[in-house]
């Protein structure tokens, strides 16, 4: 059976050209970038080339890029690094209720050490109101962290406006841009961010590597102490093959970013439209237009997400859900609840995230199999009683 992968927000397949670029750095040019002989210096050169590529894609300077082990570390580094470096100025951090766990849990951990966190609400589309950010700022606020786009519902936040507000108030601004870098244009000056998180495996790079953009002059307390790598911002021998992979992935993404976004937006809207036509009592979660080109998130009434996923998997379709049944906690997705969805609709959510290898035929396949799956599950749903 042909497998149709529609979970690119979870991870993407590493591009073959990325793998090819990485390979020499395992056993041939394997040197430690800190070593002075040519093996080492060649590796260092490759790392610096990757740094330049990442910087170029987001309109930054190469010295403003710190390589990390991924998006989670980048988020933790931004939040904890800024918090501990600015404790003397204040202890207040503003974020939103729909952030990734890497941001929310880092905030919770900071709360335990005396920081105060304001978690801003979002509207029914998942949008943060920049005015709420303005109102939440106190003379103790040291950092604002708002994601560029939601990994779950795909809503693109008004980051530029929030960045302006933070800058006017002289407060650092971080944006988790794991879902946008390489997918839609990201420019650190336009977005007015001081810190920005990137993950390689969300843009056809390898897992286990990412980067944090740190605007020149921004002081951070490192998470890792040890050697002097990354200008003392992140100790530990560089993961050279992975960093090279990130550099190649970023280069490839930059080549056709507009074209690919356009193609995916077309497929996205086909899928949204088709689901609405073929299955009654569904709703689109997230914003209809201020939305990632590849994200489709729908709630389907009277049925539960995991049972839909299992049935889709039996048809070879890989997708995702905000239902609790896929996690050890029984609570459904915090993002869908923040949008105001009742729990049963949050449990009945499905997320399809398209990618490079998907075609219109894949979209049609989903539209072909999903109505039958929903009908089967609805036939056994106790929620459907008295409804038509």
């Amino acid at each position: 059976m042909q497998r149709i992968y529609l979970d690119h927000a979870a991870t993407t397949p590493t591009h073959p050209e990325v793998v090819k670029a990485m390979l020499p750095f395992f056993s041939d040019t394997f040197g430690n970038p800190s070593s002075i002989y040519s093996y080492g210096q060649e590796a260092k050169g490759a790392v610096e080339e990757a740094r330049t590529r990442v910087a170029e894609l987001i309109g930054a300077r190469s010295e403003e890029i710190v390589f990390t082990s991924g998006g989670t570390e980048a988020d933790n580094f931004a939040l904890k690094g800024i918090a501990y470096a600015n404790e003397h100025k204040g202890n207040h951090i503003i974020t939103t209720s729909i952030e990734h766990h890497a941001v929310l849990e880092a905030c919770k951990s900071l709360e335990k050490t005396g920081f105060q966190i304001t978690c801003l609400p979002v509207d029914e589309y998942g949008l943060v109101d920049p005015d709420d950010v303005r109102k939440a700022i106190t003379n103790k606020t040291i950092l604002v962290s708002v994601m560029h786009a939601s990994n779950e519902v795909g809503t693109i936040e008004p980051v530029e406006e929030i960045g302006r507000i933070a800058r006017e108030a002289g407060i650092y601004f971080h944006s988790d841009s794991v879902q946008t870098v390489g997918h839609i244009p990201v420019n650190v000056d336009k977005l007015k961010v001081d810190l920005l998180s990137i993950s390689a495996h969300k843009l056809y790079g390898p897992k286990g590597v990412g980067a944090l953009y740190v605007r020149k002059g921004t002081k951070l307390v490192p998470l890792m102490h040890g050697g002097e790598q990354e200008k003392r911002r992140r100790a530990g021998t560089e993961n050279v093959p992975a960093i090279v992979g990130l550099g190649k992935a970023v280069e490839l993404a930059g080549q056709d970013i507009g074209k690919e976004a356009e193609r995916l937006t077309y497929l996205r809207d086909k899928l949204i439209e088709g689901l609405g036509e073929r299955i009654d009592q569904t709703r689109l979660n997230g914003h209809p237009t201020k939305r990632l080109p590849n994200n489709v998130n729908v709630s389907i009434d009277f049925v539960e997400g995991e049972s839909m996923l299992l049935n889709l998997d039996l048809e070879g379709v890989c997708a995702s859900t905000g239902s609790a049944c896929t996690s050890s906690s029984l609570e459904p997705s915090h993002v869908l609840l923040a949008l105001g969805l009742p729990p049963e609709q949050a449990h009945g959510s499905l997320r399809f995230t398209l990618g490079r290898n998907n075609t219109q035929a894949d979209v049609e396949r989903v539209l072909e199999v999903l109505p039958g799956i929903v009908a089967k599950l609805r036939a056994m749903s106790p929620l459907l009683k008295g409804q038509k």
Binding site: E306, S307, L310, S328, S381, P382
Partner: protein, 140 residues
């Protein structure tokens, strides 16, 4: 197909793909309704009782794969059992009959046990109200 890295056992997947006893019983003798939308699992279990024996059982479930499979399995197990025997069916009985469940899904088997118990209790409370004609069916 499911190998060591599948979420569910073959048996769970079998009951998930082809659930037994789906639906409602017209004029049931007992109905059990457990779970809630917050936790994401709702089970309704219907039973028909004749001479102290559960002669038919059906279910309707909103929930994950494990919730559907445990509902299906518990209705299979309970058919033909006396009320006394049925009350002895535990969540472990259901989980074991399915060749086990992932740890985070054990609550689904608890729900199946509770749905059955609640259906039997419903039956008993109805028959008690009717008088003592069915007294002999009550488990001691």
């Amino acid at each position: 197909m499911p190998d060591a890295w599948s979420l569910y056992s073959n048996k769970v997947m079998d009951h998930f793909k082809n659930p037994r006893n789906v639906g409602e019983i017209e004029n049931p003798d007992g109905v059990g309704h457990v779970g809630n939308p917050v936790c994401g699992d709702i089970m309704e279990l219907y039973i028909k009782v004749k001479d102290g024996i559960i002669v038919d059982a059906k279910f309707k479930t909103f929930g994950c794969g494990a919730a559907i499979a445990t509902s299906s399995m518990v209705t299979e197990i309970v058919k033909g059992k006396s009320l006394k025997e049925a009350l002895k069916i535990s969540n472990k009985t259901v989980a074991e009959a399915l060749d086990g469940l992932p740890a985070i899904k054990m609550h689904c088997s608890v729900l199946a046990e509770e749905a059955l118990k609640s259906a039997i209790e419903d039956y008993l409370s109805k028959t008690n109200k009717k008088g003592d004609s069915n007294k002999s069916e009550r488990p001691s």
